[in-house]
């Protein structure tokens, strides 16, 4: 009797495979409330007017010169830091994986990359202010490396003969970045600070690909007559390219969504999309909440594109690496 009951129950179980999903429902409910609803709110908000009717009018927000400026600025910062951080990070990652860096250096850099890639935020901004801000420690040091032209008569004469007004230059500090228009509180400063978490992220994402470069590929190409330069052109770079592009996209997205560092560093003086959205949350600077949603939607769209492209490239990279 009990045997029959057991088999009957098992049959029922198999009849409804969806039953298996029941255990995931608490998680899904949580996600629906705190991730899906908020996203939907932004999405529907972006395509409805204040009366609730469907419309594309909100996309006009992108004609607003301030918004456009913010988007251009954000894209610029993201692209520059992705490039600078990516390039620098790649060279460092190459040095520690293929370049035969000493073991201690390898360990310190890879450990610290894990830390620094998640650094970001307010403390990072404070660190850069304390280090290379107007009164920062490094700035002070660089400012000290000055010389007085009066003590270098020959140079002064030379400059004077070139038409330079020597009397204006009593104190020259060639290392002080602020004499060259650098400011931590401007785009250049933002790039410098973002690079702090960008290049470690590059190291983290590109290291597996670099480690996947087989020594035998180099030897096989050499054996077939290739020079190291040809090996890089024909094998190493093409093999690495999906990973490099993918990692750069990741860096791009990482910078594009960043808020806290920029906020703490520049106090909102640089118009980034994320800063602009912050202002919109606080006080509806656009005067139309639905346009605010459209603004946010644009940001999500760019991020989604970035991540989708990243994962496609990643798939290609791993497929190659398998063989």
């Amino acid at each position: 009797m009990s045997q029959m009951f057991a088999t009957r129950q098992r049959k029922l179980w198999r009849e409804y495979p969806l039953w298996n999903w029941v255990g995931l429902f608490p998680f899904f409910i949580f996600i629906v409330f705190f991730l899906v609803f908020p996203s939907l709110r932004l999405f529907t908000g972006a395509f409805t007017n204040q009366e609730g009717g469907l419309t594309l009018d909100n996309l006009k927000v992108f004609e607003n010169p301030n918004v456009l400026k913010a988007y251009i600025m954000s894209l610029q910062v993201s692209a520059i830091t992705a490039f600078v951080g990516g390039f620098f990070g790649f060279l460092v990652a190459y040095s520690i994986t293929q370049g035969g860096a000493p073991r201690w250096m390898r360990n310190v850099i890879s450990t610290f990359s894990g830390l620094a890639a998640n650094f970001g935020g307010v403390p990072l901004a404070f660190s850069f202010i304390a280090t290379i801000g107007q009164t920062g420690i490094i700035t002070a040091m660089l400012k000290k490396a000055c010389f007085n032209l009066e003590n270098y008569g020959a140079l002064a004469q030379f400059l004077a003969s070139g038409g330079v007004n020597v009397s204006d230059i009593t104190n020259v500090c060639p290392l002080n970045p602020y004499t060259y228009g650098f400011s931590l509180y401007s785009l250049s400063g933002l790039v410098l600070a973002y690079t702090y978490f960008q290049f470690p992220l590059m190291i983290l994402t590109i290291t597996p690909a670099l480690e996947g470069l087989k020594k035998e590929w180099y030897e096989a190409s050499t054996n077939l007559g290739a020079t190291p330069a040809k090996y890089w052109r024909d094998v190493a770079l093409p093999v690495l390219m999906p990973s490099i592009l993918g990692a750069s996209l990741l860096l791009f997205g990482n910078a594009f969504g960043a808020y806290a560092t920029a906020r703490a560093l520049t106090g909102g003086s640089i118009p980034l999309v994320s800063i602009y959205i912050g202002q919109q949350i606080r006080g509806d600077v656009l005067g139309n909440p639905n346009e605010g949603y459209a603004l946010a939607f644009g940001m999500v769209a760019i991020m989604t594109l970035t991540i989708v492209a990243y994962s496609l490239l990643q798939r290609r990279a791993t497929r190659w690496m398998k063989s």
């Binding site: 995931l24 705190f34 609803f37 620094a116 660190s127 304390a130 806290a260 703490a264």
Partner: protein, 270 residues
């Protein structure tokens, strides 16, 4: 292949970029530390730290953030451990969708998520901003979402390293029910993974700015920003305190994981 020793020569190129990376890593930290000690003219001292530690708002923020972090960790573990366990056992085909969902917080920038959360929960039918308690519930939910990628990955990797299905079947064949399997077998084997996820969760919440700032709750993040607007030396000291917290948690993780690694080694060698 094992008979070939790799003897790569260290080139100038390698050393140059390595040193540059190390400088980039450590100069700002050194600069911050140095700066934070120079509040009093001409001497190195802890005045900036003393001021912060004497500031009741710092302690308020600290207490608040620690409380939030602990609750977030508990909620997060309570959601993810059973969910992932269930996924491994019953619906392995749910993995792709779980992976996509848990990666979403990387795709949706924090500021956007907060934007959506605030606009969704600041009006009926789902209003959660009427009292500080309800707002704190919203905060916790937000923190859980933000730290979700880390927590999911940590627990997922932990589950993968132990054979969940076999362990469960073994425990069941010995008479355990579901609850006991989870409490006596799975969770003890996942301690390190959960600890890892928790510490990253902790570090994330302690440094988080956006949620607390826009929901106007007294966390450490907004306190830091406010301090940064008016003070010069204290923010540097605060940054050092914040780094110490992060490193302490990650150092703790390193310690525990290397200890368990050692224990495993001992088992193998004896």
């Amino acid at each position: 292949m094992d008979e070939i020793m790799s003897r790569k020569r260290t080139s100038f190129f390698t050393i140059f970029w390595g040193i540059l990376a190390l400088l980039y890593f450590f100069l700002p930290i050194y600069g911050t530390l140095d700066f934070s000690l120079r509040m009093e003219r001409g001497i190195l001292g802890f005045k900036a730290y003393k001021i912060i530690f004497a500031d009741p708002r710092f302690w308020e923020g600290f207490r608040y953030s620690v409380t939030m972090a602990v609750i977030t960790i508990i909620v997060s573990a309570a959601i993810f451990v059973p969910t992932i366990y269930w996924m491994y056992l019953k619906v392995p085909q749910a993995r792709p969708i779980m992976e996509i969902i848990t990666i979403l917080p990387f795709v949706i920038p924090g500021i956007i998520l907060v934007f959506g959360l605030i606009r969704t929960f600041s009006r009926p039918p789902l209003q959660l901003t009427t009292s500080t308690f309800k707002t704190d519930i919203l905060m916790i939910a937000g923190y859980v979402i933000i730290s979700m990628p880390y927590m999911f990955r940590a627990v997922d990797v932990g589950m993968r390293s132990i054979d969940v299905r076999t362990l469960t079947e073994a425990a069941q064949s010995l008479g355990s029910n579901w609850f006991h399997v989870l409490a006596d077998v799975i969770i003890p084997n996942l301690r390190l993974a959960i600890l890892g996820g928790s510490l990253i969760c902790f570090a994330t919440v302690m440094g988080e700015l956006i949620l607390a700032d826009f929901l106007v709750r007294p966390a450490l993040g907004p306190y830091m920003v406010r301090l940064g607007l008016t003070k010069a030396y204290e923010p540097a000291a605060l940054a050092i305190i914040s780094y110490s917290l992060t490193w302490f948690s990650l150092g703790l993780l390193q310690f525990f994981s290397s200890r368990s690694e050692r224990q495993k080694q001992q088992v193998i060698t004896t």
